[in-house]
């Protein structure tokens, strides 16, 4: 089967049955999720339709600056989402996070689309934007987990960190365990995904390619590149962002600035 089967609007509406099941479950079990499911459904449909039209336009326009502009907006949105998930409001971390994500994800997307896939020009939107989207989406979740873990552990273990500082530790030594734990917590989902891929689940991108008629042997190559890219970009961005944020948790005199809980 090489031809993709188009999903008609009535067929799309049929898929709403799944949402209906979720709504009924929430109602019967009194989960109180009906409002969230409704908003989620509306947002999924509207956001994806908007994205579909936007991508059609961008793919047609074939403009370098438009492609890069979309990339910047995607990174900015990711930082905004991370900000919503992280409770800490005292230590400013948004600007370094944005700049690190922007530079490291750009290099990753560039490396993959230009050198690994070998597409010309390197910014060909059909390759560059989905690649960047996967990197940003995956690393965004990892960073949100890592940053939140770092701040919460700094708050919880404040006395232990200060005890080490008082015994002559520098700020890196005093927070080494917390730092390691936070980076690991962010990276574990990507590493687990490498363990389960092909056995437990077929990733979204590969499923999409197969459904669109791509030979599975080609689809797996793309997926392998994507899996490696996601682990690598998550590791690079986590280490850089977390090192900057950790420094910001301490003042000039290496005094801990994170307030107790």
């Amino acid at each position: 089967m090489n031809q993709i089967i188009e999903i008609s609007i009535p067929q799309l509406l049929l898929a709403l049955l799944f949402i209906l099941i979720a709504q009924i479950t929430s109602l019967v079990q009194r989960l109180g999720l009906n409002k969230d499911i409704t908003i989620g459904t509306i947002r999924t449909v509207s956001q994806l339709f908007l994205m579909g039209y936007a991508l059609t336009f961008i793919f047609g326009a074939q403009n370098l600056w438009l492609t890069l502009g979309i990339f910047v907006v995607m990174v900015f949105s990711a930082v905004f989402i991370i900000r919503g998930r992280v409770k800490e409001k005292q230590i400013p971390y948004e600007v370094p996070t944005f700049l690190t994500m922007l530079s490291s994800y750009f290099l990753t997307a560039l490396f993959v689309s230009w050198l690994v896939i070998g597409v010309h020009p390197w910014w060909e939107p059909r390759y560059f934007i989905p690649t960047a989207g996967m990197v940003i989406g995956n690393s965004m979740s990892a960073l949100a987990i890592s940053i939140e873990r770092l701040f919460s552990q700094m708050r919880q273990q404040r006395d232990v960190v200060e005890m080490k500082l008082c015994l002559g530790a520098n700020y890196r030594e005093a927070s080494a365990e917390i730092f390691k734990g936070a980076v690991k917590a962010g990276m574990i989902p990507s590493i687990n995904a490498m363990m389960g891929v092909g056995l437990v689940f077929i990733p979204g991108m590969m499923s999409g390619q197969i459904l669109a008629g791509t030979d599975p042997l080609i689809a797996i190559r793309y997926q392998i590149v994507v899996m490696f890219m996601l682990v690598g970009s998550t590791a690079i961005s986590s280490i850089i962002v977390m090192r900057i944020i950790r420094r910001r948790c301490f003042g000039q005199s290496e005094e801990l600035l994170v307030s107790p809980e």
Binding site: E162, L167, G168, N170, E173, G251, Q252, S253, E255
Partner: protein, 222 residues
């Protein structure tokens, strides 16, 4: 003789624009002295100790240690010379030995010779920690034992000055008596300079003792 520690016109408040905890505070501590700082809860006693070792930064004023502004001393070096022992003793999830040798694992302490087990065991006895094994978990000790262990750990780092924050606040009377005895020995026998914050009526039985009290944001010394 030049004081070991000189505090000049020190003011501190938590947030910009908030009421200061204290203002224009002056204090000299000479080598070998045992200064006891008293005052009501929230008067700024613990804050004063935290400012000396720069766990907090003052609004204005200066603190000199051996005539050098503490702000200019690299923080790890400053804190290993002036070691602050917290009110609630903190141990890592490791053995008593690993907790005691913690300062020797940091970059600053790696060049120092770590004490051997025989030395540590002798010190455990001197700190009334008979029966405590170097191999047991430090987290399983009582609060009183942890408090003595945390002072012992600070001493192993050979500081010039020890800052003890309410060292007996969580202890029963027997444990408190043991701790007072240790504090007095550290001062008289080992010549350690001590600044002790307490809200109790404790007066160390040592010749070099001096008492200061926080009253209405001012520190009055005898």
């Amino acid at each position: 003789m030049q004081p070991l520690l000189e505090i000049r016109d020190l003011s501190f408040g938590y947030d910009k624009g908030s009421r200061p905890v204290f203002e224009h505070l002056d204090l000299d501590v000479r080598k070998g002295e045992c200064v006891v700082v008293k005052g009501a809860s929230g008067s700024g006693k613990s804050t004063l100790l935290r400012l000396i070792c720069r766990l907090n930064v003052p609004r204005s004023g200066e603190i000199l240690f051996k005539s050098k502004n503490v702000a200019e001393i690299p923080p790890p070096e400053l804190r290993s010379k002036i070691t602050y022992v917290q009110q609630i003793p903190q141990m890592t999830d490791a053995t008593v030995r690993d907790n005691l040798l913690l300062p020797f694992t940091f970059a600053l302490g790696q060049h120092k010779a770590a004490p051997d087990d025989a030395t540590l065991e002798r010190m455990l006895d001197a700190f009334y920690l008979h029966g405590v094994s170097l191999d047991q978990s430090a987290l399983k000790l009582s609060v009183g034992q942890k408090q003595r262990l945390s002072i012992m750990r600070a001493i192993l780092n050979e500081p010039d000055m020890l800052l003890l924050d309410e060292p007996t606040s969580a202890l029963d009377s027997d444990s408190a008596a043991m701790l007072f005895s240790i504090i007095e020995r550290l001062n008289t026998e080992e010549g350690k300079t001590l600044v002790i914050v307490t809200h109790s009526e404790y007066q160390p039985a040592v010749p070099q003792a001096r008492s200061c009290t926080f009253r209405n944001g001012k520190l009055e010394c005898a």
